[in-house]
Amino acid sequence: MSLLDIKNLTLEIDLASGWVKALDKINLVINEGQIHALVGESGSGKSIIVKAIVGALPDRWRVTADRMTWRGQDLLTMSASERRKVIRNDISVIFQNPKNSLDPLLTLGEQIKELVPTYRLESFWFWQRAAEREKIAIELIHKVGIKDHKLCMQSYPHQIANDVCQKFMIAMALVSEPKLIIADDPTRGMEVTAKSQILKLLSRVNQVRKLSVLFVSHDLLAISSMAHYMTVLYCGQTVESGKMLQLRKRALHPYTQALLDSAPSFRKELPPKSPLSSLDGTIPTLQHLPIGCRLGPRCPRARKECVVVPAVRRVHEHYYSCHYPLHWDKK
């Protein structure tokens, strides 16, 4: 059963030049117990999708969707307080920069204890509750692999190393026993060993607790090591989505192929110091979005038809939107 089902999510932002579609018909389905990766470069709207899911967008932006449901409940039509309740209980977000998203004036212990929901406390008397909160917090901190819980709970966010902070954020996300964890670029700027620890932790949480994870990142190496399913975004459009293995074996969209080619680790036959293949240009800004397929100006296979937005096509469970996908050459 799908947990989160988003169909044709469109977000319009009011700029000086008029309303601009920051997200254009995004489709995203997250099933239970699945690690879903959302890949895209900066400015492709990954973080905006995360914010749209949890409802943290400014009111003046227009969000429309054909369908945006959380386990059958429609998220867009429900009242703000109801939505808040759903998100409090079922969805946790690990934000991009752990140090900036924690309160600098409170110790980490205070912050995690504050988050423990009352229904998890079993003791009847109020004076026992503080101790119980602490117990739950310490348990979680141990679970994410921080050994010295005392030091961690007593310190302020600035006193802690970045990767420990990230683990602590995961512990905080687990406090409310959610069904879905959204990890927004959790491995940014980390070295390999710390990164692989965080990834292992997330996949373990996924296996042990049957949690779904929406993993937002642009680090393909990290993603391909753990995700089951991948959606590629470019400039607010879903470009391709499908099973990780299929996508890596045979990407259909030129952009996905370019992303895969840009990581030298994937290509063992590549001689050292040879030029990497890359797309020309950079991501366009919101003020200067091209019409039709937004990859158009950078795409090596672009033709006349690409000024029309390509419809979503499907090969088995593999969705892509391109007028001239890569597998057409081989015919």
Binding site: E191, V192, H218, M244, A263, P264, L276, S278, T285
Partner: protein, 263 residues
Amino acid sequence: MTDLINVENLTFVNRRKKARLFSSAKNFELGPINFSLKAGETLAIVGANGSGKSLLAKLLVGLEKPASGHISLNGDVLTKFNQRQRCFNVRMIFQNSNESLNPGITLGGILDEPLRLNTDLNLLQRAAKIEQTLQQVGLMPEHQFFYRHMLSDGQRQRVALARALILNPQVLVADEPFAALDPSVRSQIVNLLMNIQRDLGLGFIFISHNLGIVRHISDKIIVMKGGKIIEAGKTEVIFNWPKEEYTQKLVHTHQALINRQVT
């Protein structure tokens, strides 16, 4: 062939913070560090956070003063008396290219500064040099009238590179030049750096966490931990036969990340 840059027994002790009576905080000590680099070679510095990688880069360009040891360029020891030579020949690309560019002046102004301070070129010659360097890194001459906020990440990185290249240096030191870049832009910058290195015969020293790129473009690797070099050698050797425990862990995790397939 003599070494382009040669570092011998370089050490550094952080003396700024006064140790209080009861504080257990120890001063950070770097070194001793030894390595050498030939023209046209690429050296990668790998290590955990807080292992002194950035500090080593700063020592190389002269932003920090070493406690002992010396750095020699083409056989000449760099001291405060030949600061000018160092300014010309060892240039740095900073970690955060976005914040290392002055938001208040145009790119032309940013690129003009090193020329004005270090050379005797007149206005016209400087303008010509700026245009030429901008084109060299794949930007247009019109970009000199732009401000920082008008550019994308990749373009900013190109400007940082242009600022480093404008004095025709022999050594380029870069502190995480690819970390903030997106994959497709990152390959562009990697290609650009490799092309420029091939054309100009630069020695290139860079710090990176991305072992895939390190393996791809570097000739030699230094692995640092806790301020010490724990392993150094050719890229192929380090990746295939790592000796130290920490290096083994690093390489194996990297390999595991590549090979791990989800079924």
